[in-house]
């Protein structure tokens, strides 16, 4: 029962803004002078053809790449670049285009790993095992179990991730990102390589995350149907340049977008 681009989103404060950001690898310009903002509580999609600079953009937001130009404002604090640690501490979590999990560990342990930042007891207590460290662990485990319940992956709790099919691995990865209790969740092609049913499940989870936890979501996705259904606003990149920005309907009607996707007769 969600209204994309509903009134509450339009008036929501800006959580993160990038201004005039440029990133180049040697002579290759990955991102050129791109500006857009992400409002609190919205689902924001970044789309574009292959090599448009979408993943580079995500990497800039979570501090993995450092742009040569431009500014990033996150929660009111402006800086020229993000550092991964600041991003994580500040509440930015992400999933990867190619699943990046600990393949030999169980789903449960992988998601527990997402809680690392929130575990405060020092090595001494952790080695002692019982006492405060144990209480802490029990509390974290409870949160992780809530996530497992939320994502409906109870049956694979004890299964090593490497043995799981791809669709489930993606779900576990989302679980690990959620374990950080992020304010901003970056999803890099969460539905790549999934069949229709898995896509529908994943869409449902993304909407639920947004609805249930109030998490702001930035999503890169190739499936246009999914993007148009899920997102409140869409940024379109092509060759590292922003060519459109707005609600799904607005973007769909933009000539530059149609050209970028369908090609132009020369």
């Amino acid at each position: 029962m969600r209204v994309p681009g509903g009134a509450d989103i339009a008036t929501g404060g800006v959580l993160l803004a990038v201004e005039n950001v440029s990133l180049a690898f040697g002579g290759v310009k990955a991102v050129t002078d791109v500006s857009f903002d992400i409002r609190k509580g919205e689902i924001r999609a970044i789309i574009g053809p292959n090599g448009a600079g979408k993943t580079s953009m995500l990497n800039i937001i979570n501090g993995f790449y450092q742009p040569q130009h431009g500014r990033i404002t996150f929660k009111g604090e402006t800086r020229s670049k993000m550092r991964p640690h600041d991003a994580a501490k500040g509440g930015i979590a992400r999933t990867f285009q190619n699943v990046a999990l600990f393949r030999g560990m169980t789903s449960l342990d992988n998601i527990m790993a997402g809680r690392t930042l929130r575990m405060n007891k020092n090595l001494f207590w952790q080695l002692l095992r019982f006492g405060p460290a144990m209480n802490e662990e029990v509390e974290h485990r409870r949160r992780v179990e809530e996530i497992i319940d939320f994502l409906k992956i109870q049956e694979i709790r004890r299964t090593p991730v490497g043995r799981l099919p791809y669709g489930l691995q993606k779900r576990v990865e989302l679980g690990r990102a959620l374990a950080m209790e992020p304010e901003l969740l970056l999803l890099d092609e969460p539905m790549a390589g999934m069949n229709l049913e898995e896509k529908e499940d994943m869409s449902r989870f993304i909407l639920d995350v947004n609805d249930h936890f109030g998490t702001t979501v930035v999503l890169i996705e190739h499936d246009m149907g999914v993007v148009m259904d899920l997102s409140d606003r869409v940024v379109v990149l092509d060759h590292g340049v922003k060519i459109a920005d707005g609600t799904p309907d607005e973007v769909k009607r933009t000539q530059a977008v149609i050209d970028a996707y369908l090609g132009v007769a020369h």
Binding site: E146, Q154, E155, R204, D211
Partner: protein, 657 residues
């Protein structure tokens, strides 16, 4: 201690109150939630259900009206059933995986004003057909997730209903007294529940069961299997199915045993292992899947373990069943079996979750003798029962110590069975239904004038054991020209237990003798061909291979021998058979989508083959149109060979004893 619970309490609400007194601190229900098993004692459940009932009453649920229950096996849904019954209203469980269409049929037919549902998925389904359910007023739900933005004027969470009821009970003593009065006022003769049949044979019908009959039937089987408050069962089969309502809900309330609800449908197998139930039910298909999984994983085990496993399975095959049946076994056998128990059977049963199972049942379809023997040989007390919704499940069940893979046991205590002229099984039982909901015509159709229920299944009593054998649906049973009853499915199933045979279609109605068309199993026969250097290029070539025919001929001969052993069946031995040149396929309309053969359609399509089977020719040409996976059509032509079989001599009538 055999006792008749119906003497103490003739309805489930009364039983719940009794259990709260008798077994107050014993666990009544468990549910795995957030990875931890939660438990509720009988007194806690009684308190919860009272509060829930009070809350439902305040919402407006009236005595005698129906309330739909839609969802998986979760404690709150079982409590919904209890709370609704406590108010004298009638729960109508609906299958959680029913599509919106079926759901709307049942909800509309049952005139429900209220529905207790599991989650958003069910609410969405019901809302999509809301225009067909003008009577529906309120839904209460268990799982709040995803429902925040829904219109809550027609939705309430069960949590709130229970809290509201609890508060009202605390504030107003009169309400509690009123509720006690309502419980006392529940009548054994009133409808206790309406279970809709799955509708495989036409539209689904609402089977009305009364409280007293339900309680009495459950008391009989609780005594039969000596179930007590110390037993544990896992409730993992659909809540709306008569089996779950009987085996878990009714027997649980009568005996006071603990019902465990799995975390989710997908975790049932691992939950089974964690809970270690003492009473267990599984359809043959589930047992088969379990066995296959074990066998596949054993193939990956080390050489030593594999050898040990297979050696001791051999030991179990030789002595296991006899030990379980309490027959005499040589000392060596006992010692070997004991060793096998320590090394193989014990750990295996532990892995499967069967360590503590005292009584296990299977039913629903014919079970392969090997499959059945496997579980029994490793020491699982697996038995068969036969029943149906109209009987409130049990009609027959095998008693400990008299177990056969091809019978369903003698009549249950207090059940009266009669075989009709046409072979149909008729019964009268303590738990039998009182009628179909709002359908007196169908009720009358299903009963004989003297009050027996017609099951629609054909069967006969085995002479040696006195047990009932179910052979086919009564309407499918035909007659040979000499008047012998001809149950096609019985013959087909016997052949299908051979792994090499995938499908069988038997013919014989209004004919002089029985013939079958066989589909070989490409995987099984293919691997046999590989091992025996049989070269083939296609299914068709393999199916027509002389060696394959030889192999199938031995299977048919064995089947004939086994048919001949039965006086009733000796006349329907297979006289001629052929192996079909193509696999029967649902895309070609030869099978239903649930993989059942459509005998009539196949007879039409392969009319030339049937003609050849009966006119004595040695081979026949056939050409059929087939549909490929991408929808294109093509034709397959073949020359199919037909073989004659020797018929085992009929036992002389005098000797059959």
């Amino acid at each position: 201690m055999p006792f008749d619970a119906s003497a103490v309490a003739d309805t489930f609400p009364k039983l719940l109150m009794r259990n709260a007194q008798w077994y107050g601190t014993r666990p009544s229900m468990r549910h795995k939630d957030l990875g931890v098993w939660q438990s509720w004692t009988w007194s806690e459940v009684a308190e919860l259900v009272r509060a829930y009932a009070a809350g439902l009453h305040r919402l407006g649920v009236q005595r005698g009206e129906t309330v739909a229950i839609v969802g998986a096996n979760r404690p709150k849904l079982y409590w919904s059933v209890m709370a609704v019954q406590m108010l004298g209203a009638i729960p109508v469980p609906v299958y959680a995986d029913a599509v919106a269409e079926e759901l709307s049929f049942v909800l509309a037919h049952a005139d429900v004003r209220f529905a207790a549902v599991e989650d958003q998925e069910q609410i969405d389904k019901i809302q999509s057909v809301l225009d067909r359910l003008p009577k529906l007023e309120q839904m209460v739900y268990d799982e709040t997730r995803g429902l925040r933005d829904y219109d809550h004027s027609k939705l309430t969470s069960m949590e709130n209903v229970i809290a509201d009821g609890r508060k009202a009970l605390a504030e107003d003593a009169a309400l509690g007294a009123w509720l006690d009065g309502e419980i006392a006022a529940t009548q054994g003769a009133d409808p206790s529940i309406i279970l809709y049949t799955s509708g495989t044979t036409g539209t689904s019908k609402g089977v009305v069961l009364t409280g007293e009959r339900s309680v009495r039937a459950a008391s009989d089987t609780v005594a039969f299997d000596k179930l007590t408050e110390n037993d544990v069962a896992l409730a993992y089969l659909p809540l709306a199915w008569v089996g779950d309502h009987y085996l878990n809900y009714a027997q649980g309330l009568v005996s006071g045993f603990c019902m465990a609800c799995p975390e989710s449908a997908d975790t049932a197998m691992s939950d089974l292992r964690e809970i270690g139930p003492s009473f267990y039910f599984a359809p043959p298909r589930t047992l088969e899947q379990m066995l296959t999984r074990v066998m596949i994983r054993m193939e990956d085990a080390g050489l030593l373990k594999r050898k040990m496993f297979h050696y001791f399975l051999g030991v179990a095959r030789r002595y296991g069943e006899r030990i379980l049946n309490g027959q005499s076994v040589p000392l060596v056998g006992r010692l070997l079996y004991w060793l096998g128990h320590i090394l193989v059977y014990g750990p295996l049963k532990n892995t499967l979750g069967f360590s503590r199972v005292r009584v296990a049942y299977t039913a629903g379809e014919a079970i392969g003798p090997d499959l059945f023997a496997f579980y029994r040989s490793i020491g699982l007390n697996l038995k068969q029962l036969y029943g149906q919704t109209e009987a409130f499940l049990y009609i027959t069940a095998q008693p400990d110590g008299a177990i056969y893979s091809d019978t369903v046991g003698p009549a249950c205590p207090n059940v009266d069975i009669r075989i009709a002229e046409n072979g149909e099984v008729l019964f009268k039982s303590p738990g039998m239904f009182s009628g179909y909901f709002k359908d007196d015509a169908k009720t009358a159709e299903a009963m004989t004038p003297d009050g027996y229920v017609m099951t629609g299944d054909a069967g006969f009593f085995d002479e040696k054991t006195g047990h009932l054998k179910i052979i086919d649906r009564a309407k499918d049973v035909g007659k040979l020209t000499d008047g012998t009853l001809f149950p096609p499915k019985y013959i087909e199933n016997k052949l299908k237990f051979y792994p090499n045979i995938r499908e069988v279609v038997a013919y014989g109605d209004k004919q002089g003798f029985v013939t079958v068309m066989i589909n070989i199993d490409l995987t099984a026969v293919g691997s046999w061909a590989e091992r025996n250097n049989v070269v083939y290029a296609s299914y068709q070539e393999l199916a027509g291979h002389a060696l394959v025919y030889d192999m199938i001929e031995t299977h048919v001969a064995e089947t004939n021998a086994s048919l001949a052993a039965d006086k009733m069946m000796a006349g329907v031995q297979i006289k001629r058979f052929l192996i079909l040149h193509k696999e029967l396929d649902a895309d070609d309309g030869e099978l239903t989508r649930t993989q059942k053969v459509r005998r009539g359609f196949i007879a039409e399509r392969y009319a030339t083959l049937i003609k050849a089977l009966y006119d004595g020719s040695k081979e026949a040409d056939i050409s059929t149109e087939v549909t490929f996976e991408d929808g294109r059509k093509g034709t397959i032509s073949a020359r199919v060979k037909i073989r004659d079989m020797a018929i085992a001599p009929l036992p002389a009538l005098g000797q059959a004893a």
